[in-house]
């Protein structure tokens, strides 16, 4: 058994009837980092996670954790902790009883159930039935379940869903701590902004395909600023753009110049120096979320620069 907690998804595909939910997807998730697994609803995130966990059989390709398929791992809960849906509890069972279901299979003493409840701040609700839990409490209980076996690899599907702002902040710190201990932490989300303060790496998928995979700083560097300049002097504006070698996007109206990779101050100064009259000069920073939407939108439709709102 390898001690490495690297997740490797290799040319993974899954079809449900005519629907290609996951299409030739490949990426890698490194230990010691928090990786955001991002994509809009229906992008194939959950299906990918389920294939990684041996719940759904891939149509082709492989998904392994530390070099092994999930089904080959002995006592898998000791290696991989996964929380797929916050609703996977019997409502009539208490939180502590729920955790004690799995302690024999994890191979830890029953006292471990109390410990993990303490870790996620649910000790007070240990003997309450899960049916009465809020979504946030269920999320914490799901997280507690994943921690029973002190696993090297954590896979969490939308763990911030239903958490209040304080809970989200707590979760951030908790995930960072787990990664700092050398664990592999994969967190799925349909919005980048939710995880952008938590993750080191991002894997972005859309329509079952890989849209982008890199570290978060590398992703941030791809965010292109945009400036919109409007002038009644069509010829002067065109000459200015040409002279300055700015990238001009198609805007339709010749009086409008949509410019990439240049800031408003530069454009304003150049226009002033050239004596080109401007009626409007606005800069737009699509930010990471805009870039995310752009990347997601670019899958299946390459070449169209989806604009951030």
């Amino acid at each position: 058994m390898t001690t490495d907690g690297t997740i490797l998804v290799d040319h993974l595909s899954k079809s449900f009837g005519p629907v290609r939910a996951v299409d030739d997807l490949s990426f890698q998730v490194a230990p010691g980092r928090v990786t955001g697994f991002l994509g809009p609803n229906g992008a194939g995130k959950t299906t990918t996670l389920r294939m990684l966990l041996g719940l759904v059989r891939p149509t082709s390709g492989t998904a392994t954790i530390g070099g092994q398929a999930y089904g080959e791992i002995r006592r898998p809960l000791r290696t991989v902790g996964a929380a797929l849906e916050a609703a996977s509890f019997h409502p009539g069972r208490t939180a502590l009883d729920h955790l004690r279901l799995y302690t024999p299979q994890v191979g830890v003493p029953d006292a471990r159930a109390g410990e993990v409840l303490e870790l996620v701040g649910l000790s007070a609700a240990a003997d309450r039935r899960v049916g009465g839990f809020s979504l946030g409490m269920r999320q914490r209980l799901a997280l507690a379940t994943t921690l029973l076996g002190d696993p090297r690899v954590l896979l969490l599907d939308e763990p911030a869903n239903g958490l209040d702002p304080e809970g989200i902040r707590w979760l951030r710190g908790f995930l960072r701590m787990l990664a700092a201990e050398g664990r592999t932490v994969l967190v799925s989300s349909h919005v980048l902004s939710e995880v952008e303060q938590t993750v080191d790496d991002v894997v972005i998928i859309a329509r079952g395909r890989l849209a982008h995979a890199s570290s978060l700083p590398d992703l941030a560097r791809m965010a292109r600023v945009q400036v919109r300049a409007v002038s009644p002097d069509v010829a002067g504006l065109a000459a200015l753009v040409e002279r300055s070698a700015w990238t001009r996007a198609e805007a339709g109206d010749p009086r409008v110049a949509e410019l990439w990779d240049v800031d408003a101050a530069t454009v304003g100064a150049a226009a002033f120096a050239a004596g080109v009259e401007l009626h409007e000069l606005t800069s737009r920073d699509p930010g990471l979320e805009g870039l995310f939407l752009q990347l997601v939108g670019s899958v299946d439709a390459p070449g169209t620069d989806g604009m951030a709102a």
């Binding site: 389920r50 609703a87 009539g92 799995y102 994890v106």
Partner: protein
């Protein structure tokens, strides 16, 4: 496998379903045993009067066997439901996902469910049978009828009744593995046990060939294990040997579980 067994056992006993069903079974069986004990012994006392139906021909030891094993005839729906819901509720509450994460070997999982349900079935068998024996013997004593509790053959019937009910829990797991919709499970179990099989046995008994077929129906097989029943003693159907009945019932349980293993438990869990 041992860990999976402990886990499955804990799943069964950490919700309220099992003891609610167990309580219902105990009360229902005690009531039925008392009622039938009173009814058939009264019929027996008037055995010589003309115009009597076939029940009046019951020998006293057949009377007590009918009363003490009434749980096998009318109470098997309880262990059957417990077994079936052990699987169906996993799908109803989507706990099948964490279940398979903890034990990805699906054959091990199904086997653990079969065995753990069988063990809980023994508890149901014990409680249901003893409720019938207790209430039945009390009524018979009050009516100055022999209880036959000092005879080994009576206790053999009682023990086999417990076994039959335990096997019904196994059949339940098999059934729940094939039909995972919890509501459908409850409807089909109630319809089949309370209506379809009794009617089927009655109708088959009217034909020349039907009796042999009817003996292999699960309910009849269960009664065969206990060595007698309300139906058979009243001449509605004939039964197999006790060990044949046990094997037939076990075959239903394991067979259905095997079908569930290659259908339900082969599918993608989404």
């Amino acid at each position: 496998m041992r860990a999976a067994l402990v886990t499955e056992y804990r799943k069964l006993v950490t919700t309220r379903l099992w003891w609610i069903l167990l309580l219902c079974m105990a009360v229902y069986m005690a009531f039925l045993a008392a009622a039938v004990g009173w009814g058939v012994s009264q019929g027996n006392a008037m055995g010589s009067s003309p115009g009597s139906d076939e029940q009046l021909a019951l020998a006293p030891d057949a009377v007590v066997r009918t009363v003490y094993t009434i749980a096998v005839t009318f109470g098997y729906v309880f262990p059957l439901l417990v077994g079936a819901l052990a699987v169906a509720s996993e799908f109803r509450h989507q706990t099948i996902t964490p279940t398979l994460l903890a034990e990805p070997r699906r054959t091990v999982l199904v086997s653990a469910k079969v065995i753990s349900a069988g063990v809980l079935g023994l508890v149901f068998g014990l409680v249901g049978t003893l409720a019938a024996v207790g209430a039945g013997a009390a009524v018979l004593t009050l009516l100055d009828q022999p209880t036959f509790l000092d005879e080994a053959s009576t206790w053999r019937s009682i023990a086999l009744s417990v076994l039959a009910l335990a096997l019904w829990a196994v059949v339940g797991v098999g059934f729940g593995s094939v039909l995972t919709n919890q509501v459908a499970v409850i409807v089909v179990v109630l319809a089949f046990t309370q209506f379809v099989e009794p009617v089927l046995r009655f109708v088959l008994a009217l034909t020349s060939w039907g009796a042999d077929v009817a003996a292999y129906l699960p309910g009849a097989a269960g009664e065969a294990v206990a060595g007698g029943s309300f139906f058979s003693e009243s001449g509605v159907s004939s039964l197999l040997e006790w060990w044949q009945g046990a094997l037939v019932l076990l075959a239903y349980g394991v067979g259905l579980a095997a079908i569930g293993r290659v259908t339900t438990f082969r599918r993608d869990i989404t």
